[in-house]
Amino acid sequence: MIALDLHQNDTICAAATPALPSALAVIRVSGRDALAIKEQVFSPKKGVQKFFVATFGDVTGIDEAVCVAYPHGKSYTGEAAFELSVHGSPIVVQEVLKKLQDAGCRMAEPGEFSLRAVLNHKMDLCAAESVCDLISARSKEAAQVALRNVKGGLGKFLQPTRSCIVDVLCEMEARLDFPDEDLGEKQKERLLLDMENAAKLLQKLLDGAELGQKLIEGARVLLFGLPNAGKSTLLNTLLGQERALVHHLPGTTRDVVEALLVLGGIPVSLVDVAGIRDVQIAETVEALGIEKAHNEMERADAILWLIDATDTDAAKQTYLESLIQTIQAPVLKVFTKTDLLATKDFLKSPFEDGVLISAKTGAGIKELHAQVLQLLRKDASGQQEILLTRERQKVQVQIAHESLLLARKALQIGEADEVVASELRVAGEALDKLLGKSINQDVLDLIFSRFCIGK
């Protein structure tokens, strides 16, 4: 769901492209004062007809940019708006946004442009939501999942489960509401089986939810290890560019460095933090970085534990070992700098449960890709057609699943039928929140078509 912000009179601005170095970056401005602000910050170049190309900023200028302006009613949001195409340096984008804010803009909340489009009747909410998914789809696979869901794939997938719930409810309800009818006894065993099958389908959906969410939201993979274990080098290798500062002195990476890459269809944020020694022995500035590293460990979906292959002294890893044990995320050991090892060393036992790589020669990098992917997709082995991509979808399916299991248990132990029905109803309503139907009417319709209710 798009965040609701009600300060409709503000003029908002935001970068429409990610904060990564690239050829171009687009900055969007929308709102009542958009065009006045454009006049204030943007000086057109003479002789260019179609778009404005001009110096942005003061006399010295921040950048040369292309500007496309939209009058009220003609833009994506329906408001007066303009878009700037600037050079894709994060620094330039930052400066331009700063300039725009000085001129009276406010930074947009996530989804706020789409919200305004909905409010100004440029788009319906369904479209807005799918747009959000598609926009945030950072890989082909994610886009496909989003599109399939938008086209009703989720509804189709859930239909058998919902039918089953309606069906079982019908059997229970008919006997509850019409006790004087000769409807026969309910077939408990069949109902139990039906409920079990319905629950299995939901379980399957939940199993894939993590992957679905990762496809849309991306996963965080943390590079973890002692100082100088080669974390920054590996980051740069994976990205193919000098992203993090690499230095041979232990403790160089004091800040969290984050980089995006697509791994097997999953957008992955690769996170490089300070090398971890014991906080007590680290110098103060570095200690701050280490605290960040601890936080990152909590957030990570997977952890790559880098170990210098040339220094396999187990004692040095003891502190790290104790840290790892407090973390839920799956961990993969990565032995680095294998180019420095003699051939016979490869057979040593410490390397058995990890991947051996050399950032320098590229050896083992492909294998590393595969292993990381496996870590992230551990709970969705087969390629699934329909994936839950949003937390709110997942929550509803979880409610439905839990209630269905409770209903089944209640039926099994001989609890009152209306208790079973009550849980089934909760399950049905949760699915209906996803699908937008009414369980009450469906149950009654089924009762009257199936049973002869005579009095």
Partner: protein
Amino acid sequence: MNSGLKNTYDVIVVGGGHAGCEAALACARLGFSTLMLTGSIERIAAMSCNPAIGGVGKGHLVKEMDALGGQMPLIADLTGIHFRTLNSSRGPAVQATRCQSDMDRYQKAMSNVVFATENLKVRQDDVIGVFLNDTQHIGGVQTRNGGAVFARRVILTTGTFMGGQLHLGHQTTAGGRAGEAPSAGLSDSLRNLGIQLGRLKTGTCPRLDGRTIRNEILEEQLPETPAPRFAFNSGPPPLKQVSCRMTSTNRQTHDTILTAVSQGLAPIYNGQIGGVGPRYCPSIEDKVIRFAQKESHLIFLEPHGLDTYEVYPNGLSTSLPPAVQLQFLRTIRGLEDVEITRWGYAVEYDFVIPTQLYATLETKQIPGLYCAGQINGTTGYEEAAIQGLLAGLNVTASLQGTAAIVLPRHLAYAGVLIDDLVTLGTDEPYRMFTSRAEHRLLLREDNVYRRLMDVGHQTGLLEATRYAQMQAFENDVDAEIERIQKARIYPAEKVQAILSRLGSATISEPMPMGLILKRPEVDAHSIAELEEASGGVPHADARVRFRAAVEAKYAGYIERSKRNLQNQTDLEAVQIPAFIFDLQLSGMSNEVFDKLKKIRPRTLGQASRISGITPVAISLLLIAIKKGQAQT
């Protein structure tokens, strides 16, 4: 004052059926001068269909009326001749009270109350129209014989009489009930004022001469002892209690009916009847055709009363021609020599499409005009009566300038009923089922006083002494729940024997009573037995015992239900301001928005229940509401 007939009242109630009686009594008792206009004074509170009150869902409604200060439960208890608890072997939420009434005594007892009530006048006349005053508010009604009568509020409770048409075989006559003229003119008057009417049908059974039924060969259904009651502290039934009988149709019955239908003799199949009938109470010809695989249908033979030999064969509603009715009846076991006292018939009638009403039952088109009962598309005495009661309460609230009485769905079946009607409308006669209530575990007969006595008290309709008694009862229940949690059951020999009999595991050491009560095979009755066997003393009042045991036994599920409710009430809490419906919400399809404009839901919760209103539409409404708030 001149000496002519008084012709100005606070409230006019048009109709003297079950809705009309409750509405008129509520208004008069709360101090407003009220006139009941009825086509036939002799037929006030007549039970025109089956001789029973209550049942699953319906019994719940009757008990709700008791907590709200209604009359039906008192009269039903006074005149019942056979009481039963339906679903007694199932859980507490679907257990429901039902009684067979002495129809004649019921009607007389209720009309006696009507005539004895201060501020309430009764007049026999036909209402042929309603009119507005110069502020476009309801002004009063036009009667056939007495001219215009003026009132500040009008409640229409005309049942099946508007545009009523009776079908009996090929014969079609105008009428609201057998032998009674329809209310002509009223339909046109409402249409002229912009109110949309629909058409429904319902049927009734032929009545039998009980002396020609071979009761001795039929299965007997005994009344329950002690008799369950509708009203609080009713005491034992004053009338003699009698049995019903059961029989069933057979292949020969079905063949007789099918032959008649194939000859074009059934009005519902030869195109004579256009209105939509209820799916749950179909005519016997409907049942035989739609459920061809079913060899037999159950028939309950219900006595009309103690002083009459007429019998109602429940399950045999029909509009087949008289000769066919007699022919198929005589194929049924026990009815081989039966004589018919009245023919079954179907009635078609106009109803006010109820989505034109607010949840107060006031029409949206005409301020001050209210509709209650079968005119709103419902069926059943109980559904009608509780609407009458709530219409009456809302009329008095509006006259007093106090808050409207709108019961939420989680508080009362009455709330479910009215919310369904005004939100979803209905395309068949609407009957209450417990499955219509999403918070069924919270809406039980046993906790009705906890749910509604405060509302009854606040409106002033529930007598103070009765309210005090109900409060005392609920306090006893609280104390008993606490006691149950503390008490223990000891592994005495007798205890083990009872547990084994129940199919429950025996105990090896003292166990908390509350824990044993949670076992599915142990219920409110057996736990008292166990306590006694264990040397304890169960609470003396069986009603307190039952109610406390239910609360304790189902505490977990009730708690879950409440939590689930909590999640849903968020939407209920968001009021939809009227200006929303004047906006252009083009993000929404026209169809959806037209529906919203027509129904004008009060809350987002109500809006979300309108058919075809998607979560997206609800989100858009929410955005529009917040946007509106931000602007003002």
